[in-house]
Symmetry: C2
Subunit: 419 residues, 2 copies
Amino acid sequence: MREAHQDAVARVSEERLWRRHMEMARIGAIPGNGVNRAALSREDIAARGVLIGWARDRKFEVGVDAIGNLFVRRPGRDRAAAAVMTGSHMDSQPRGGRFDGIYGVLAGLEALQAIDEAGVSTRRPIELVAWTNEEGGRFPPCTMGSAVYTGARKLEDFLDVTDNDGVALRDALARTLAAAPGLALRPLNAPAAAYIEAHIEQGPLLENAGRTIGVVTGIQGLRWFNIEVSGRTDHAGTTPLALRRDALRDAVNIINALHELTRDAADAVRFTVGRMLVTPNSPNSVASHVLFSVDVRHPDPATIDRLGKAVEPAAKAAAKQCTVKVTPTLHDDPCGFDPGVVDAVERAANGLKLRSMRLPSGASHDAMYMARVCPAGMIFVPCENGVSHNEAENASAADLAAGARVLTAALLELANKDE
Amino acid sequence: MREAHQDAVARVSEERLWRRHMEMARIGAIPGNGVNRAALSREDIAARGVLIGWARDRKFEVGVDAIGNLFVRRPGRDRAAAAVMTGSHMDSQPRGGRFDGIYGVLAGLEALQAIDEAGVSTRRPIELVAWTNEEGGRFPPCTMGSAVYTGARKLEDFLDVTDNDGVALRDALARTLAAAPGLALRPLNAPAAAYIEAHIEQGPLLENAGRTIGVVTGIQGLRWFNIEVSGRTDHAGTTPLALRRDALRDAVNIINALHELTRDAADAVRFTVGRMLVTPNSPNSVASHVLFSVDVRHPDPATIDRLGKAVEPAAKAAAKQCTVKVTPTLHDDPCGFDPGVVDAVERAANGLKLRSMRLPSGASHDAMYMARVCPAGMIFVPCENGVSHNEAENASAADLAAGARVLTAALLELANKDE
C-alpha cells in the first residue's frame, strides 16, 4: 500500500465512527436498543439532515436525485473521470437495529473524511451514496433507490405505492426532498467506475469462523410477490361455512401450499410471509380481502427460477372459495460480484493483516443493482449471533472500524488505478 | 287488542321509519350502500346526537349510563313500576350495512312516538335503549354495553381495551360522553319488567319461508378468544427456517389445527378467524408477534362447551416454534328467551295478521344479556338474501314497518299487563 494511502487508513477513527452510529441510533430509537426509521419518514428526514451536516462540515459536495438518493462527493484530479462509489442505506425495518445499512453510510463517510484529513488526492472522485428505501418495510419492494438509479426500474412505477396507512410514496418523497432544499440535483444513472458497499453480515458465518472481514462474492436470488385474496364479508354467527367466501381461510390454504412448494431438506430455500393485511379485520366479520407478501430466495439460478414460476399456479390451485391475484413485486436473479473488486477488498484486508473469508450474501443489498452497471463488491463485518432485522442487532466498534479501514484502502486503490 | 293500542299501532309510519334509516345511513356512509360507524367514533357521536334530537322533539326523557348506553324514556302512570324496555345498537361493523342494530333503535323510537301520538297511557314506563359497542369491531368483545349494564361484566375490565390504532376505550368513551352534555345519569342495572329487541334476521330463513316476522326463541352459544403467538423477528434472507421462531408460521399452524377441531359434517359449527395483526408486518422480516381472533358458535350447550374448552390445548399443541397465549374474551352459553315474551311477540304478529315463524338466532344480540335479568325476547324481520355484516345488507320498508308494529303492540301489552 502506498504511504499516503496508509496515512489515510490510519486516520479512520473507531471512536468517531462509533459515536456517529450512536447519534444516528437516537433517530427513531425504539425499546431494546432498536431503531424504527422507515424510508421517507420524519426519522429518515432527520437522519438525512445529520448526514448532510457532517458532509458540509468537511465541505464535501452534497447532491440528491429524483428518488431521493443522497450523494456526498469528494472531487478527484480528473474532472472527466467517473466516480468510485460506496454507500448503503439509512432506512430500517420497523423493528430494526442500529447497524443494518447505516454502517455502510457512516463507514463511507469515515473513509471520505480520513482521506480528506490525510490530504490524499485521487484521480477519480470518491462518492458516498445513501440509497432511498433499501428495506421496503414501509413502501415495498426493497432496494428501490438503487433499482431506479441504475435504470432497472422506473421511478413512475413506484410513485403510487402506499404504506399501511395509505400514504403514497409520491407524497412522502416530496416531503423528504422539500426538507433538504438547495441540494445539487444529480441525474439518475450517471456512470460509475466501481462500487463497494460495507455492511454487517446479518448472519453467523464470520463470527463462527472468527474472522473480522467478509469478502463478499455475490448475492442469492429472490422473488417477491403480493398475493391478494378476495372473498365476501359475512356475519360470523349466521353464515354456514359452506356458503362463505372467507379470504383469510383461503390465505391460510395458500400459505400451506407454498410451505409445501418450498419444503427443502437442506434448509437452503428461504420462504417468508412477513406482511399480512386483513379487511375488514373484525372478529365477527368473515374477512372479505387479505393481502400478504411472499419472499422466496435461493443462491442457485435454476432453483429460484423454478420456485418463482411455481408461486402463482400453486396459490391459485390452493384457493377454495375466493379469487386470487398474484403480483410479482421484485425479481432478482443471483448476482456474482466483479472479480477485480472482490480481489481489491481481499487485498486491502490482507494488507491490514485482518483475518478475512470469502462468502456469499443471504440478504439483498443495493450492491446487487450497482453490479449491473459497474464492477461492484461488498465488505461484511460480523454481527453478534448473526442477528439482524431485530432490536438486538449488535456489532463491535473495533470490527466496524476494521471494515471502514478495508473500505478506505480499497476505495483508494480503485480511485487511483490506471495512473 | 284494545282499541287504544290499535290506534297506536296504526300510527307507526313506514315512511318516517324509512326516512330515519336513510338519515342515519349517511353517518359513516361507505361505498356500496354500506356504513362504517364504529363504537364511540366520531360517527357514533353524530348518530347519538341525531337520536337525542328526535327524542327531545317528542319531549321524551333522555339519559346515559357509565358505559354510554343511551336511554329514551316515556313515563308510565305508575312511577314506582319498572320499565318495559326495547332497543338495540347504533354502532356497525367496519364494512357494515344500513339496518343491523340501528333498526331496533329506530323501531323502538317509532313505537314510542306512535304510542305518544296516539295519547295512549301505560302503567309502566316504556324505555328505548341504544347499547354501546354491540359489534365489538373496534373494541372487542361485542355486546359490551349490555354486558356492563346487566352486571355480567365490569366496566373497569374494558377501559384499557385498545383499537387497532392504539386508542383506549377509556378515552373514546370520555369523548363520547363529553359530546352530549347535560343528560340524566342513569344507574347501571336498574330493574326492568321486560325487554324486546327488534332486529334484521341476518340469515335467510324468513325470506326462504316467505314470512314477515320472526318470533325469536333464543340465541346460540359462543366463545371468543384472542390468540397471541410470540416468536422472534429475523432477516428473511439470511435466517434458515429451522432456526426461526416465525409467529406467522405458527399462527397458520394453529388456524389449521382449529379448522380440524371444528370440522363438522352438518355445518352447524361456526368457526371464524376475522382479525389478525402482524408485527412488524414487513415483507422481509420474519414476524415476531401475531394476534388473531377466534369466534366459535353452536346452539347446543354441550357442544359449545366441549369446543370452547378444546381451543387452548389445540392451539398450544399446534405451535412448533413460538409461545402461545390464549385469552378468552367472550363466553356466552346458548340462551332461551322467556316463553311469556315469545308468546306476546307471536300474539302481536297474529293480531296484525302477519305471517310469522319461530326461529333461533345465529347472531349474538344484547337481548342475550337482558335475558339474564328480565323476561326477554326478540322480533326478526327479513333481510335480502340473508346478507349482513356487509355493505349489501338490505331490507324492505314494508317489512321494517311491520316489525315496528309488532314491537308497538307487544310493548303495549307488556306495559299494561297486571292492571
